[in-house]
Symmetry: C2
Subunit: 218 residues, 2 copies
Amino acid sequence: MTEHKKVSSVVIRRLPRYYRYLGDLLSNGVTRISSKDLSNFMNVTASQIRQDFNCFGGFGQQGYGYNVEYLYNEISGILGIQKGRTMIIVGTGNLGMSIAGYANFKKRGFTIVGLFDHNPDLYGKVVSGVEIMPITQLQEFLERKSVDIAVLTMPKESVQEILPYIKGRVKGIWNFSHKEILSDDGLAVENVHLSDSLMTLSCKIGRIELEKNKKKDK
Amino acid sequence: MTEHKKVSSVVIRRLPRYYRYLGDLLSNGVTRISSKDLSNFMNVTASQIRQDFNCFGGFGQQGYGYNVEYLYNEISGILGIQKGRTMIIVGTGNLGMSIAGYANFKKRGFTIVGLFDHNPDLYGKVVSGVEIMPITQLQEFLERKSVDIAVLTMPKESVQEILPYIKGRVKGIWNFSHKEILSDDGLAVENVHLSDSLMTLSCKIGRIELEKNKKKDK
DNA sequence: TAGATTGTTAATCGATTAACAATC
DNA sequence: TAGATTGTTAATCGATTAACAATC
């Protein structure tokens, strides 16, 4: 393991993107790439690419570049792909179902082992081979089974209730609810605020319009 | 308009979060807040808050702090909330449906005016008062109606087909497909890669585990 | 007026980019 | 060996934090 000092979170956030682009290259039969070519492909600087990879010890070879498959596998490893992580989804509305149905997750070693909802009409319904259970059984389920990741796709009101016994039982929370969760010590959290993203888009649109009007005025 | 020089995109990305927290304060009846109190509440520095707001001219008053409602409204304005933006959703799977069904968007002035899919079984089905149309009618629809935002919640294969006539017709693209879209001049783009977010979470989990093992070894 | 807190400038910190020696 | 390209150090840039004068 050449992984030493703390890697900045901006670097970590870029890894999935490398992973995606390298996957594309791989399926296009590209076996080898230089940081320069990759930088053109991904629209970032070659310097950044080399710096990023060197946070983890460097995966290239002088004069040659990077072996795409090797690099892809290394990054997969850092991302914890194929580690066989187990997930539960709490809230089986459309968003929860869209995640449950995404086959690529399973392919990458993220297996759904439980689905929970508070709607009795859904109890017993089977999605992707997993039965929907009452949310009241969640606590008991977590004590019985080992769960790595809890995906929260329910209304924010219910989050407060289940949070106490989810924390400490899972390693990570993938939170889509509108209640922001802080990442305690020893607990990883990813807050996904879809509406924040729409607001950002809307803001960008506004700024472009503003710019256009300014030009017109001149 | 006190909006002058270009505002950095890290600041813009923070605005929706301010908007959320200010909304919470507002519904809790808080009428006035200092950058210090807000910084405790939001877990950021007071300095950053003041710097951020001053990118847009400053909304506070020395010795008093910020009027929550006023600040909330100003940020709403910057985010383009209540501007009455029209949206279409292309791809009415679970993800598309979860967005279509999110009432808060409408409340904030984002109205869905069209739903498109390539599945004939869905044609004519009405969701949130809007009929699902064949994706083949998209081009004609865009020529007829004014659409601000196109939400892409379909497989990446279909994106290439429709992208040419979406660009130039809409002001922004909210892209959930796995095909990354570059933001051309005059077109705002928000790429949302849900699987990137899961990979990041998985990576964080791995790093925490690594840290734990290191401690154990000592 | 005295106290509070902003707006804003200056200092620090971290991230990105450039440069180049090491080496395949 | 000569050419290519990395790993890594140094320079630059931008973002965050600290400090404080302005002012409500």
